[in-house]
């Protein structure tokens, strides 16, 4: 329990240290921004190229009509989910360690959903017809097909974006009011406007606390439902490897797994560059590492159950599909996926490794790669070989698809870098609240 002087001092230094990050950026920031913006520009350029030349420049064809674009869509939606987990779910469980990460996690959620939202458009080809996805009656008074999982996706992902953005903004309001104190001139006016004139009065806090709780309570089932709906894009089909009931919780666990890894990937360098060691400690990272371990075990369980039950069922097509994953054209990706997602995270059972930040960072990269491979395996192998051997085929992603994938990472990191400069990266108000308990 800190003394009164220590606490008063903590408030001031917490504010200053966190908001110092918003001052004039150092060269390393500009270099990072340049790299990610270039990747983004490359991706955009390739998208324009695809729109001009046609979808043939991408590798998707019959039978694999869903390729890297859909892999990326699922990947980025998955990344978004753990942001909401850390923010909303850990809030409901009153886990105090969340306050070091939750701002960055919420920002990650919003940016990841935006990135994910690009991919259905890219995959559409004729992206200018995207509005056909929205529920309106066309000129023949024909509405969209609400029975289609792709339509459920439209509703789920838009709801997720809206609610995440609102949740992110609501959490920011008190911190924007603090940020206002450190600005001058036009910037001060902007922060003032964004903070809605917040002063932390009794009535404001009373209703705010309730709102925050409701948003967290809504965001939790939303997170589960969104990735379940995304998984149902596949599970609602009838092909082996896709049609299986475990997809919904399997995808949700996988999403939290990959998203938690991305949080580590982002926060470790951010902490170092912005010097926030006092507020984001090794204990915080250990707690996050435990979540990583737990979700890794859930994902491994799903791998085992799917494979075992496919063999058990005696169904020739299911057995064929899973044996193809293990021994077929994409076997290196499959083994890579098992290694990165199932084997390497087992090291987190060792406490020393959970607290080794460098190890966690490297592990998080492995997990990000492994989870991308997992989406690739699920989507591509099931399409490459389904029921009829005559229609079997291979899929090779082209430079356009891979370039756009790189561009999506560029987009995400550009947004995140800009965020670190214009908004407080740690929830200062919550830090104060936690410090006083």
């Amino acid at each position: 329990m800190r003394s009164a002087e220590e606490r008063i001092d903590y408030y001031r230094t917490a504010e200053e240290e966190v908001l110092a990050a918003m001052r004039k950026p150092r060269p390393v920031f500009w270099v990072a921004l340049f790299i990610s913006a270039s990747c983004f520009a490359l991706g955009m350029g390739l998208w324009v190229y695809q729109m001009l030349k046609g979808m043939g420049v991408a590798g998707i064809n019959s039978p694999v009509g869903w390729g890297v674009y859909i892999v990326n869509f699922v990947f980025w939606v998955g990344i978004a989910h753990s942001g909401t987990l850390i923010s909303a779910v850990l809030f409901l469980f009153r886990a105090k360690f969340r306050s070091a990460f939750n701002r960055s996690a919420e920002a990650m959620t919003v940016f990841a959903v935006m990135t994910a939202g690009l991919f259905p458009l890219i995959h559409l080809g004729r992206a200018w017809y995207f509005f056909w996805l929205l529920p309106y009656p066309n000129q023949r008074l024909l509405w969209v097909n609400f029975r289609s999982p792709l339509m459920w996706d439209v509703f789920a992902v838009s709801t997720y974006f809206t609610i995440s953005a609102v949740f992110f903004y609501v959490g920011l309001i008190p911190d924007l009011a603090i940020a206002k104190r450190f600005q001058t001139g036009v910037k001060k006016k902007i922060y003032s406007a964004l903070s809605l004139g917040w002063v932390g009065s009794f009535k404001q806090w009373k209703h705010y606390s309730k709102l925050y709780m409701f948003l967290a309570a809504f965001a939790t089932p939303l997170v589960v439902s969104v990735h379940s709906v995304v998984s149902w894009d596949f599970a609602m089909s009838v092909i082996p490897g896709w049609h299986t009931t475990i997809f919904a919780p399997y995808f949700v666990a996988g999403a939290i797994f990959s998203g938690t890894a991305m949080v580590i990937t982002l926060v470790v360098p951010m902490r170092k560059i912005l010097g926030l060691y006092k507020h984001i400690t090794d204990d915080h990272f250990e707690s996050i590492a435990k979540i990583l371990l737990f979700t890794s075990l859930l994902v491994t369980y799903s791998y085992i159950v799917e494979f075992a039950l496919a063999i058990y069922s005696g169904n020739v097509y299911e057995q064929g599909s899973f044996l193809y994953r293990l021994t077929g054209d994409y076997k290196y990706f499959y083994w890579g996926m098992l290694f990165c997602n199932g084997i390497v995270p087992l090291a987190l059972f060792v406490r020393k490794l959970r607290r080794n930040i460098a190890f966690l960072f490297v592990l998080s990269i492995f997990v990000n790669i492994g989870m991308w491979l997992e989406r690739f395996i699920i989507i591509v192998t099931a399409l490459a070989r389904d029921f009829n051997p005559y229609s079997w085929g291979l899929y090779k992603p082209t430079f356009v698809e891979l370039g756009i994938t790189l561009g999506s990472f560029g987009f995400f990191f550009t947004l995140f870098l800009i965020f670190t400069k214009i908004l407080p990266v740690v929830a200062v108000t919550e830090l104060k609240e936690v410090a006083d308990e």
Binding site: W232, F247, P249, E306, L309, E318
Partner: protein
């Protein structure tokens, strides 16, 4: 609630008696293979493992709210051994399974019995280690808690895939294992509500916040249950694959199971959702125990809906076995040693040395 002066011998005696009686009934009195033992044993195993799983999760997640009732929850662990012993008796009943006539390398009576018994035995040993670690407040208890959760997940998955899913061989639902361990956890929470109902009759109990937290968890898991239920149902309904959809249609569209399925939904989700939304009701022990009772009833009926379309059940034997096994759970959970119940929350001794 009278305080039993429990000691090892009474509890051991009760467990041995119940095991022997059920085994005798199943092996000698009711010789024709029916599914009464299967349903009763499945339900029993899920409740018992769920209680210990709840305690283990509380350890791992440092759930402060669980501390006052942890000893009652962990105390039922010897019943996992009872479940294991009764699973041997299940070997005599494998006639209810369609694979019993065309046995293969995985699905044959001997392997079926041995693997399930061994799994339950290992789970029992893990639970025993955990109970011991909790009682002496060992610094390594997290390790045992983690191990138990792993064993719990595997063992519940086998209850789902081996005991229940093979009734409809070769039908497969990969989510059934997950569904069962969520149900088991929910049953553990329901038992907590009963434990709290009894503990809160004593004055000066300081357990209101514990009950509020248990109610919130019950709410959350009831919603999670319906989510898993819907995930399973939606995939099978949408795919409409003839091989698969028949198994669901049998249970959801045809009478009498259609009505029973609807009842299950009401008892496990609709009513608990409506009741647990209310803030004041969350701290009223009889209301929470009532909701818990409905949840348990609903989950029991769900086992019947899973089993009855395929195998016959003798209502009398089923009722007898269920009551006797549930009674055993209650007996173990309620048994306290001579230490006064006014012990400060969090310093409970964990009970007498058990098996």
């Amino acid at each position: 609630m009278t305080r039993w002066n429990a000691n090892t011998r009474t509890l051991f005696g009760a467990a041995a008696l119940v095991t022997t009686v059920v085994a005798v009934v199943e092996l000698f009195v009711r010789r024709t293979p029916d599914a009464s033992l299967l349903v009763a044993l499945t339900f029993f195993t899920m409740i018992v493992e769920g209680c210990v799983a709840l305690a283990a999760t509380g350890e791992l997640a440092k759930g402060i709210w669980l501390i006052p009732i942890k000893s009652e929850l962990v105390r039922v662990y010897p019943l996992i051994l009872v479940a294991g012993l009764l699973s041997l008796v299940l070997g005599a009943k494998t006639g209810i399974y369609p694979w019993s006539e065309h046995q293969n390398g995985w699905l044959n009576t001997r392997f079926f019995v041995v693997r399930n018994f061994v799994l339950l035995l290992v789970t029992y040993l893990g639970a025993r280690k955990l109970a011991g670690a909790i009682r002496v407040r060992s610094p390594h208890k997290n390790r045992w808690a983690g191990l138990y959760i792993g064993l719990f997940i595997v063992s519940q998955s086998f209850v789902a895939f081996d005991w229940i899913m093979t009734l409809e061989y070769p039908w497969v639902s990969t989510l059934l294992g997950g569904f069962f361990f969520v149900e088991s956890f929910l049953m553990g929470l329901a038992v907590s509500a009963f434990v709290l109902l009894f503990r809160m009759r004593a004055p000066g109990h300081a357990l209101t916040e514990t009950l509020r937290d248990a109610s919130k968890m019950m709410f959350g898991f009831s919603v999670m249950w319906v989510g898993f239920f819907f995930a399973q149902f939606l995939v099978i309904w949408y795919g409409n694959i003839p091989d698969e959809v028949g198994y669901v249609l049998k249970r959801v569209e045809e009478a009498p199971f259609a009505g029973l399925s609807r009842a299950v939904l009401f008892l496990v989700w609709v009513i608990p959702f409506a009741v647990l939304l209310s803030r004041p009701l969350k701290t009223v022990p009889p209301a929470m125990a009532g909701v818990a009772g409905l949840i348990l009833a609903g989950l029991f009926i769900e086992k019947l809906v899973l089993v009855l379309p395929v195998a016959k059940v003798n209502p009398g034997v089923l009722a007898f076995e269920t009551i006797v096994l549930l009674g055993l759970v209650a007996f173990f959970a309620a048994a306290r040693d001579s230490v006064a119940p006014q012990q400060v929350a969090g310093t409970g001794p964990g009970g007498p040395p058990l098996l």
